[in-house]
């Protein structure tokens, strides 16, 4: 009996801390959202550009795209962020922490997103391109009117996955001094010597964001699949 009371008490204490600190994450949430949204949008733009480079017939442009993708995929994001924030100033390129983080995350996501787009494009049956070209379309017309719309639709589920990863990866920006959710949680933990309720709060915030994004993506997917049956 005494034991049960003890447990109930500690649960009570736990949630007292949770509710005390939950509202104090407002600025942190803004940072995390900023990092996520910008790295996703910029990453998508970079992804489109890099995919285009890979689809050109110019070997040296393809090569640039290949080198970029292999560097991003071949090294940890954490190191990439360190490099941009602490390394680039050594050659005179100074960015503030937030800009560095957004550049780093977008640069990172762009490589994966470009591979997602490329995979979706090559998955479109060649008969589609042939049918468009046989009507008299130029390569570019066939690409924009026939291939790309189908590829975008095709890529949504995988792209969504990458967007979710992007939200979680934004937590790595904590290592370059940005007080987004993760770093904020660490600071509160250090101040209170009571890390678990605070990390719990951080986890709940990530979970809510990702769940909302997932719902949004499911909606988009449903909208896009109207022509399937």
């Amino acid at each position: 009996m005494e034991h049960i009371v003890e447990i109930l008490n500690s649960i009570g204490d736990f949630f007292a801390v949770v509710f005390k600190f939950a509202p104090k994450f407002d600025q942190a949430i803004v940072y995390t959202l900023e990092l996520s949204v910008f790295s996703i949008l910029l990453g998508t733009v970079i992804g489109l550009v890099v995919t285009s480079l890979k689809l050109t017939k110019l070997k040296w442009l393809q090569k640039i795209a290949d080198v970029y993708i292999s560097i991003v995929r071949g090294t940890p994001l954490l190191l990439q962020l360190y490099f941009i924030f602490y390394g680039l100033p050594l050659i005179g390129l100074n960015f503030d922490a937030l800009t560095s983080a957004i550049i780093g995350l977008a640069f990172h996501n762009g490589a994966y997103i470009s591979e997602i787009f490329r995979g979706a494009i090559v998955s479109i049956h060649y008969g589609q391109d042939e049918a468009a070209r046989a009507l008299g379309m130029t390569k570019i017309q066939a690409f924009f009117h026939v291939i790309l719309p189908q590829a975008v639709k095709q890529s949504v589920p995988v792209l969504g996955n990458q967007f979710i990863i992007a939200i979680k990866d934004s937590s790595l920006a904590s290592v370059i001094t940005i007080t987004e959710i993760t770093l904020t949680a660490r600071q509160f933990s250090a101040a209170t010597y009571n890390p678990f309720p605070i990390l719990f709060v951080a986890g709940v915030y990530y979970y809510i964001m990702i769940t909302l994004l997932t719902k949004l993506l499911q909606w988009v997917e449903r909208r896009l699949s109207v022509n399937e049956r």
């Binding site: 042939e130 049918a131 009507l135 008299g136």
Partner: protein, 245 residues
């Protein structure tokens, strides 16, 4: 059919790496003429057809459309393709567009046609193939035969001077073959110039003005359906005919 030559192939050669598929094809197709191309698998029927609109790049030889020599420039090729429609074995409709949009896409993208006119015309073409009521559905909701009829309407929307058919009924369930052949037959009667690669011998015999028998990349025999099917001269054609009846 008249004397005007619509397609002229001179010494057409095509190889895929080591494999020589077309070994010198000479053929003239007149305006309004319907030509069926028959032959065993691998005889080069489809390759010949695909060379005519440059979906395959010929290695040697000349192609004239409407008396104009087609060069390899992309401008020439795109212009040629707008004049020469193609219908594929696997339909290749655009799944992300409705039936109506499939038919409209050629004129609106390539000829920048007026939207309202393009739509009117597309509806008329759909009426001709009996699919007016399917205008707003997506291709995935149609049967194979219906899809192929839409594909024919899509090709017709560009006002082609020639239509090429690459085994238009080979991917269809047997009960759906008839509706597609009927549409092709109506086009033939309307005076459309057509080259049809087919395995439907009965249809080839009925609809064609001339039949081409290809064997190992060469025209082995060419003649009227009666000549080809009832009086085959070459031994190979005789045994081909014997094998399919």
């Amino acid at each position: 059919m008249n004397d005007k030559v619509m397609i002229k192939l001179v010494g057409l050669h095509k190889s895929f790496d080591e494999l020589e598929v077309l070994k010198g094809i000479d053929l003239e197709v007149h305006e309004g003429e319907v030509i069926s191309v028959i032959g065993a698998s691998g005889s080069g029927k489809s390759t010949m057809l695909r060379c005519i609109n440059f979906l395959e790049k010929k290695n040697k030889g000349d192609i004239y459309i409407d008396s104009k020599l087609i060069k390899k420039s992309s401008h020439d090729i795109n212009t040629l393709r707008a004049k020469v429609g193609m219908v594929f074995q696997t339909f290749n409709l655009f799944p992300h567009k409705t039936v109506l949009k499939n038919v409209m896409i050629g004129p609106s993208v390539i000829k920048k046609a007026d939207k309202i006119k393009a739509k009117e015309k597309a509806m008329e073409l759909l009426r001709n193939v009996g699919l007016e009521e399917k205008a707003d559905v997506y291709p995935a909701m149609l049967s194979g035969g219906q899809q192929q009829r839409v594909a024919i309407a899509r090709a017709m929307a560009m006002d082609p001077q020639v239509l090429l058919f690459d085994e238009p009924t080979s991917a269809l369930d047997p009960e759906l073959v008839g509706e597609v052949l009927q549409v092709i037959d109506e086009l033939a009667k309307s005076g459309m110039t057509m080259v049809i690669v087919t395995h439907e011998m009965g249809f080839a015999r009925e609809v064609s003005d001339r039949v081409v028998f290809l064997h190992e990349g060469k025209i082995e025999e060419i003649g009227t359906p009666t000549e080809i099917f009832e009086n085959p001269k070459s031994e190979r054609l005789q045994s081909f005919i014997a094998s399919i009846w």
